[in-house]
Structure formats: C-alpha cells, structure tokens
C-alpha cells in the first residue's frame, strides 16, 4: 500500500472511530465531553498550522476562540430574549440594546461573524506586525498581551458582555432543547464533521505550494525573501486561517458546553492549547489534533481525581516533553518506527522530509 493510501485509510479509520464507535459506546454525558475536546482540537489544528508549519507561536488563540464563541452566544441570547433585552443586561441595568448587539439577532450575520471577525482582526494584526518583521518571541509576547487585554475588556464591559459570567443560560439552539440528549448528539456530530473537514482542508493546504512556502518561511524567512517571495503575506494568510479555525471552534463550543466566558479565553487556556499541540507533536497536523483531545481528556479525568495534582502533572509533562521530545508524541512514534525499520534493513536511511532542524 502506498504511503498516500495508508494515510487516507488511517484517516478513515479515525473518522469511523469518532463518528460510529464513540456515539454508540459513550453515554450522552461523555459524548458531550468528547465534543468539547473536539472543539479544542479545531483550535489546536489552527495552532498546528500557524506554529508547527509556520513557526508563529501564537499565545492568543483564546481571543479568536472567544470572538467566535461570543458571536454565537450573542445570537443565541437575542434569540432566547425574543425581542426583549437579554437577561444579564437587565441585571446590569442596561435599558437599551447596544448597537454592537443589534446585527447579531440575524443568524446568518452571526454565523458569518464567527469566521469573519477573527479573520479580519488576525489579518490586521498580521499585516501590522509581520510587515515590520516583528517575529519570533516578539510576536508571541504581543499575542499574549492581546489575550490579556481582551479578557480584561470582556470582564470590564459588564453590560455589553456579561462580565466574568460570560454568556450562558441558553434555552433554544436553533429550535432544539440544549439539555436534550438528541441535541447533544447532533452538536457532537456537527463538531466531529467540522473537525474532519477542516483537517482535510488544512492537510491539503500544507501539501500545496503554499504549504511548502510556509515551511520555508518557518525555517529560513530571509532566504524566502531573497527568493522573491513576501514572507509577511504568507504568514498573515496563515495566521488569519488559524484565527478563523479558532473562531469556528469557539462557536461550536457554545452549544456543546452551554457557556462562553472570559476565564475560558485567558492567557492560561490559550497557552494550554499550545501545550497540547506541543505534546501531541507540533510538526504534524494530526499531532496537534490528537494532542488537544488527549490533553483535555487527561485534564478532565485527572482533575476529577485530584484537582491540585493536575498542575504538577501538566507542568512536569510539559518540561519533560520540551526537554526530551521537542517533537512531541508523533516525533517519538516516528523515532521508534525509524529505529525498527533500520534494524530490519541495515542500510542507513536518508533523512526524511518531515525531519526538521532543531
């Protein structure tokens, strides 16, 4: 079997696992939790693209996740209120619907905003930052500062955003009862399918000429510039795509979990996503996705047992991965696979394309 066929077979296998086996085997409650992990996996896919392929360490994906989530939440809130003010606005003494909220009563506008708003903001930031050749650590610090500022803004504008509580208490998801098992199943399937489609699209992008250019920018930005390409454009487009993915992830998160609040978007959750990608293996998209699912699963099950211990474990896991296996679980797997192949065939193998200089 060719490597390409094997790749598709593997993808089909994993898809079947998530679309057939998991819904049959898991109770609705666990399935809903799995849907939550898949939301994070969508955001992680964007990080895999921007950081793993493009070398842009973005520590502010929570911002774009939040923008998507709030766009969705605002629509649902307005829909529930049915022409009146959303409940939290009444509590914080707002007497007129703010102008910012008005268009979100329209579901088409809200769904478009889920992708468009993060993409526009990321493009704007990307143009300003990458054109000036601000990169590497500077970029990481800026995105982190953006996340911090965004959360403070959300918490401070109580009447506009619901403050610390965020947007919650939804009663109607496009005509479905959010508490019903059937709704939870539907949102699970939608999330899983969206993840699958986005994964295939991202994979296609990575394999395209653009993807090669992106990796070239990561490994030698100046050389790419000397060859006549504009690295800033490549980076901005990729950053915008990854922001759009985070936006979609946030929008799906709202019906799955039933809340969007600042604490989900802060510096720490944004970093935790990056951690998950690193542990899974940043240089492959599959590693990013699997890392996000596995890390969030581990976090939930571990926190149920021993909440305080999780932070020790997460920290230790992270230190361990960064020191011993910077290419993550996928890297370890590839190393083991190559070692076995070498033992079978004593001819020294040429360096594979996936090998990246440290």
């Amino acid at each position: 079997m060719s490597a390409r066929l094997r790749g598709y077979a593997l993808f089909a296998g994993v898809a079947a696992l998530f679309l057939v086996v998991a819904p049959l085997a898991l109770p609705a409650f666990r399935l809903d939790e799995l849907a939550k992990y898949l939301c994070f996996a969508i955001a992680a896919l964007g990080i895999g693209l921007a950081w793993g392929q493009g070398g842009m360490l973005t520590l502010g994906q929570g911002v774009f996740f939040g923008l998507g989530g709030y766009a969705m939440g605002m629509y649902l809130k307005l829909h529930d209120a049915g022409g009146d003010l959303p409940d939290f606005m009444v509590w914080s003494g707002v007497d007129k619907l703010p102008a910012l909220w008005k268009p979100f009563g329209n579901p088409v506008f809200a769904l478009a905003a889920v992708v468009v708003v993060p993409v526009v903001i990321a493009t704007l930031l990307g143009v300003l930052v990458f054109r000036q050749r601000v990169r590497g650590a500077y970029f990481a610090i800026l995105t982190q500062a953006l996340a911090a500022a965004f959360v403070i803004l959300l918490v401070g504008q109580q009447g506009l955003t619901g403050g610390t509580n965020g947007l919650t208490n939804f009663y109607d998801f496009f005509g479905q009862d959010p508490e019903a098992d059937s709704t939870q199943r539907t949102t699970y399937f939608v999330t899983a399918i969206v993840l699958g489609v986005l994964y295939l699209l991202a994979r296609q992008l990575v394999k395209s000429r653009f993807g090669r250019l992106l990796v070239a920018v990561r490994d030698g930005e100046d050389r790419v510039r000397f060859l006549g390409y504009n690295p800033a454009t490549v980076k901005t487009i990729t950053f915008a795509i990854s922001a759009g993915m985070a936006g979609i992830a946030g929008a799906l998160f709202v019906p799955v979990v039933g809340i969007i609040s600042p604490s989900l978007l802060d510096v720490v959750p944004s970093l935790e996503l990056v951690v998950a990608v690193a542990i899974g293996g940043r240089y492959t998209l599959a590693g990013a996705v699997l890392g996000a699912v596995a890390m969030n699963y581990a976090k939930t099950s571990f926190s149920e047992q021993w909440a305080d211990g999780w932070l020790y474990l997460e920290g230790a896991l992270f230190i361990g991965v960064m020191t011993l296996a910077p290419r993550g679980a996928v890297g370890v797997y590839e190393q083991v696979r190559d070692a076995i192949a070498r033992r079978r065939k004593p001819v020294p193998a040429p360096p594979t394309a996936s090998e990246v200089p440290a």
Partner: protein, 292 residues
C-alpha cells in the same frame, strides 16, 4: 488639572514596579534569548520571602527581605538555568513554553506551601505616611518603590559599565561567538546574568508586598506588561527598559483615568503595536551586522 497631576505619581510608581520586573527580563532575553515565563514566579518567591521573614523581623521584614529575596529568587533562577534552560539556547520559543511549565509547578507549590488565600506583609511603620506632592497624595511606600527602582537601575548600570564582569556580559550580549573565542567563559556569564536577573525579580516581589497582598498568582498579573516593556524598550537595553517602563506606567494610569480600567489595557496594546510600526525592534537597538 489637579487630578491630572494626581495621576503622575501613580503612573510613575506603576512604572517603577514594571521597571524592577522588566530589568531582569530584558537581560535574560537580550543576552540569552530566553523568554522566562517563570520570572513572575520569582517575583512571588521574593514576596513570600518577605512574608516568611515577618516571623523574625516583624515590622522591619521588608528591609531585611530585600537582600534575602534577591538571593532566594536568584538561586531559583540559577537552578532553572543550570537544570533546564542551558539546553535550550537558540530555541527561544521553546524556552517560553518550558519556563511556563516551570511556572505552573511553582505556582502550585506555593499554593500547597502557603495556602491559596492571599497573605499580607506588614509594612514598616515609617513607610505608612504620605507626602503632599504636586497637589496630590503620594504614599511613602510608593516613593520607596521609586527609590528602590532608581537604586537598582544605577546599580545595574554601574555593574554593566564599570565592572569587569559587566564588560564580559556586554560582550556576550553583543556577539556570543566572538566573546567566546576571545576567552570569555560565556556559560559562566550566562549563569551570573540569570542569577542577577532572577534576583531582581525577587526584589520586585518584596516591593510589591508594600502595595498589595501576596498570593500564589502574584506574578501572573505583571508578567505580560513586563514583557511588553522589554519589547518596546529593545532587548537588553537599560535605557530602553527605563523609558518604556515609565511610559507604560503612565499610559496605564492615564488610560484608566480618561477611559476605564478595561479599555486602558486595549489602548496600551494598540499603542505598542503602533509603536512597533515605527521601531520594530524597540526603542534602542543593539547594532550588529547579523541579518536576524
């Protein structure tokens, strides 16, 4: 107008705290390319040092704690450098993530050792007054912090420009390879820089006990702003750090005054991105012929 002047000392003292924190960061970042996210936890370690010393020194704990916290936080930083960071030189983004893991562990350790609730350090009685200045009230504690920051800047300046060890440090910062072939033990210089940088975080932590309670997540409140100071000031630039810290302090204080606290941070962010349009590498840049 009077309230406008009132904000001036507030901004200056915010700037002084940021400066104390950013001083250490700018050298570890500028010299070694290490983005130390655990720097915030060294601040916390310094603050808890003052808290511990209270048992013996009561009201004067803060003064005693300044040198002790410098050594405690410096030693923590030195251990971190020896145990992990030295394997990461040349991979700045990886150090960011690595040290974030370290900071998670340290925060949880503080929670287990000292408890999750905030604790209070009693300020010396002679710092409890306030002085009338420019029509505003300036607490002595804030004045003390400004003095401390000034002393630290002068000390660092003297160290860098007047001592042999400081000259080696500047050499490594400007060109590591050339310094190494000229006989500078770069590894040892790195250790010392990390010790001093982390120690300054400890001093900043003690200063913070004067203006607020101490908790396990103390460092996280300041670390993002401190990194912005480094970015805006330029890597490893003492002058840049001083100007950027004061400007950021002012911007924070006047931003909160004119709009509200939640918008101030957004304004700061926009101003910094705007500033990077003019000076992408910060206020002052180390001239070199290297491409990147």
């Amino acid at each position: 107008m009077e309230s406008l002047l009132n904000q001036l000392p507030v901004g200056l003292s915010i700037g002084a705290v940021l400066l104390l924190i950013a001083l250490g960061l700018t050298f570890t970042f500028g010299q070694m390319g290490v983005i130390n996210m655990a720097h915030g936890e060294f601040i916390m370690a310094g603050a808890y040092t003052a808290y511990m010393l209270q048992d013996w020194f009561h009201g004067q704990a803060v003064i005693v704690a300044l040198p002790v916290a410098f050594v405690v936080a410096g030693t923590l930083g030195w251990i971190l450098e020896r145990a992990a960071i030295r394997h990461f030189y040349g991979r700045p983004l990886d150090t960011l993530l690595l040290t974030w893991g370290v900071s998670l562990v340290l925060q949880q350790a503080a929670r287990d050792l000292f408890g999750a609730p905030n604790v209070q350090v009693t300020a010396p009685s002679w710092l409890s007054g306030r002085v009338e200045l420019l029509g505003g009230n300036l607490p002595y504690a804030r004045l003390f912090i400004m003095g401390l920051a000034t002393a630290c800047v002068v000390g660092i300046w003297a160290y860098m420009n007047r001592s042999r060890q400081g000259r080696r440090m500047r050499a490594v910062m400007q060109n590591r390879e050339l310094a190494a072939v000229s006989g500078v033990a770069t590894g040892r210089v790195d250790q010392l820089t990390f010790f001093i940088g982390s120690g300054l975080a400890g001093v900043a932590g003690v200063a913070l006990t004067l203006i607020g309670p101490v908790g396990p997540s103390l460092g996280t409140y300041y670390i993002v702003d401190a990194f912005l100071v480094v970015v805006a000031g330029g890597l490893g630039q003492l002058r840049g750090a001083v100007i950027a810290a004061l400007a950021l302090g002012m911007l924070n204080s006047y931003g909160e005054f004119w709009t509200d606290a939640s918008l101030a941070k957004v304004i700061v962010f926009v101003v910094i991105v705007g500033f990077l349009q003019v000076r992408p590498q910060g206020l002052f840049v180390l001239r070199s012929r290297a491409l990147t």
